[in-house]
Symmetry: C2
Subunit: 156 residues, 2 copies
């Protein structure tokens, strides 16, 4: 037998999803601040962590942000000792941005925090519930990607 316990309307589900977005953003901002990081700067160092040293140009493309903006983000990260700017070995116009040792250990701590959060959120979920939730999440993600692709077109 199957009991449906008032799953609510789509509108209510969206409200919950929006609350989730707000709470996750707050949690991330709070956690990153303890390492002296902001969300945009954390995004940049995360790219270095997972892709190695790169030019600011490549970072601007990956972050979908202006080159000028990257200059500011790197300035801040250099000031707090998490990254360095070095001359590019073959292209004298470009600079290579690399993680410092301290930057690398900060990233290791972020990885640990990431795993802890995953355990907190999903650790005590029953396997079947977890599977259903991930399925639903996949459905919503596909719809959202379609929507953003559709509305992003037509813009030269």
């Amino acid at each position: 037998m199957h009991l449906t316990i008032s799953p609510g309307t789509p509108g209510e589900a969206l409200d919950q999803l929006l609350e989730l977005v707000v709470l996750i953003s707050e949690d991330m901002t709070q956690t990153l601040a303890r390492d002296g990081l902001t969300v945009p700067r954390a995004h940049l160092v995360w790219l270095l962590h997972h892709g190695g040293a790169t030019t600011q140009r490549a970072l601007a493309d990956a972050l979908k942000v202006s080159p000028r903006n990257v200059t500011g983000l790197v300035d801040g990260l250099v000031a707090t000792g998490l990254v360095t700017r070095e001359p590019h070995p073959t292209d004298r116009r470009a600079t290579l941005v690399s993680l410092t040792d301290r930057g690398a250990s900060t990233l290791a701590e972020m990885d640990r925090g990431h795993r802890e959060l995953a355990t907190l959120l999903f650790g005590d979920m029953a396997d079947r519930q977890f599977g259903s939730f991930v399925d639903g999440l996949g459905h919503v993600l596909r719809r959202l990607r379609e929507e953003l692709n559709a509305s992003g077109e037509g813009a030269p």
Copy 2:
């Protein structure tokens, strides 16, 4: 019989959740921009829509933001014709912020967009899948609220 189709690890589920946060933020920012709104300004007019005219002080408390910040948000909304500042009827220190007609119709459009997004995301989900997803969402939300309360304590 019950087939579990590789639901993935908690870490992967969290990555999907984080992608969802990014995509919803992008979609909201993009949609609001069409109405000349930013996320913080939209939050403010949403409060007026659902609570009626109020003082800037009350808005600052509700938005958990400094009074100075509200001055700036209201300045912008007045400039774009979505709200008005009027003298408070009984307290001459305070100002009442109200939606203009144009502000109200913008809000009506936002409500419509909200319903459309809910339909897009959940409209063609099977009832059982929708119910399971909402259950999982509730679980995650409870954990997150606990986490933020716990880490938010001890701060005088």
